[in-house]
Symmetry: C2
Subunit: 316 residues, 2 copies
């Protein structure tokens, strides 16, 4: 199967099915064309996933496609952006039809779930590497940045943290119990917080998605904002399966492993007080922003040194 045939068979039907009026021209020409509504900015992010680095070898293609698009879409959530479309650049070792049809199915599922149209792409023979760029829009000048956190703001996270990190320990378990299944699901099928992110525009003072672990990602907010924070280990929300792990294992997952794609945001106590219950219920306050730089974690005696996922260090 040639490149053009592969695109024709697997990706053009998907592009047609996911079309949106904002995508004036989809795949098939030299470029795609997107119309950005007046009063809005274009928001975009690119993410690469490499076999053996970001996902295990022989990982099911259907799940891989979902995870790849979820990871990219999560960056839109962190900006409060409305999702619009994405491009997919893919190198793969062979045009295996089973693999490709699974991949296309997972991608179409995820794209429909996240409201992202397929705008274009490139497919080449090579090692298995996926690069996805997602596009969204935000009202002009109102995208959520990492750099707006101020002293006395509350530090909040969405959902529960650490499940996806814990899942890595269970990936090879056959016939997993219900508990483990729910943890695995968080790894295989993450749900980017697109709606919540969008609702936090004009509310949060800063935001990031947790892809490298809370410690590293909150660290990015603090560095970008020129502030510090104290958080309480006991307040970090973890799922009930994780809560049953011994010692500080659950908190360690939450602090150091990514792939949950929850949001970490800061907001003023006033804005927290004004949040409608349906938004507040999705967030947990875990600490407070302070003038003094650095991240202090009360009730945490974990090993020093681990600081999130750094792609070059992790392989060296």
């Amino acid at each position: 199967m040639g490149e053009f045939e592969l695109i024709r068979r697997y990706f053009q039907p998907m592009a047609a099915r996911l079309a949106t009026p904002c995508l004036v021209l989809g795949p098939g020409d030299d470029c795609a064309i997107q119309r950005v509504p007046a009063g809005n900015d274009l928001v975009f992010s690119v993410d690469t996933l490499v076999e053996g680095v970001h996902f295990p070898e022989a990982y099911p293609s259907r799940i891989l496609a979902w995870r790849a698009l979820a990871a990219a879409a999560s960056d839109l959530a962190a900006m409060g952006a409305h999702p619009v479309c994405f491009t997919l650049a893919m190198t793969l070792p062979e045009a295996d039809e089973d693999w490709l049809s699974g991949f296309a199915e997972g991608l179409a599922d995820a794209a429909a779930n996240f409201g992202l149209a397929l705008a274009g792409g490139d497919t080449t023979r090579g090692p298995l590497v996926l690069t996805i760029q997602v596009h969204g829009t935000v009202p002009e000048g109102r995208g959520l940045l990492r750099s707006g956190a101020e002293a006395d703001d509350l530090v909040c996270v969405s959902g529960c943290l650490g499940d996806a990190g814990a899942a890595l320990e269970y990936l090879t378990v056959s016939n997993p119990e219900d508990d483990v299944q729910s943890v695995l699901q968080r790894y295989h099928q993450p749900q980017p917080r697109l709606e919540l992110g969008h609702q936090l525009i004009d509310v949060a003072s800063s935001a990031i998605d947790i892809s490298d672990g809370l410690k590293a990602d909150l660290g990015h907010i603090l560095a970008a904002s020129g502030v510090g924070a104290t958080i309480r280990a006991a307040d970090i929300p973890v799922s009930s399966p994780l809560a049953r792990l011994k010692g500080q294992q659950a908190v360690s997952y939450a602090l150091h492993s990514g792939d949950d794609y929850e949001l970490c945001v800061t907001l003023s106590p006033e804005n927290w007080g004004r949040l409608p219950p349906n938004i507040r219920n999705q967030l947990t306050v875990i600490g407070v922003v302070e003038r003094e730089p650095g991240l202090r974690i009360q009730g945490w005696q974990g090993a020093a040194g681990s600081n999130g996922f750094d792609h070059f260090r992790s392989m060296s």
Copy 2:
């Protein structure tokens, strides 16, 4: 060197140097933010280059960076788009400082030449694969498409074709003669036709950049437009070094090998007649669009079957 350090050292200074007001937020946050001026559409294209497929192993990183950005920018030229910014997703086997500084230099050079700001990216350890997405703008609804060619339109190409294809035969020549040097230059440092493409808005009825060879790329225009064409082999412009090759070798390069990144456009005889000399001088009429589907090449007895570069077929 970790991922963050690598970005800080090589790509952040470049991003700062190439900044443009349309890029509201560059690298360093979850997303980049681009403002698309009112009355304009966003135009974008993604291209992947794989070591050993699109460029030779141990290819100099400075030249690689230029070629990669030129190939991507050429798609903007083919739409008549004004260049704005790009993202770079890169997997590389090791953070070699010589390689990286050469790459960053070549990329900054090319970016400044083409008017593209660095908006963001992703770097990961893996096999050497580059994915570049370029962004441009066109006045709303006026992007040059492949699908507008009509019977009786003239078929034109810019510059000379085939040099980059011929260069592949000479890549390992040491101390090349002047002739060969000029041909190699076309391969190593292609110049996307950004200005010409922009000037052809509202003039050309269709356009494509020649990345896979004239035969394949003109074929894309004809298929997208539902028409055919007859071109004359003798009218295909080739450089003087290529003109000295035996038999139909030069025409064969022009028809079947890409990487020149010239434009192929169609336009009505009336529009051709009205073209200012400075634009007309950059184009050569090589044939005419016809109702009958298919591409006919007068004065060409070359081998059938070769039909441009298809990434999966080419490796099988």
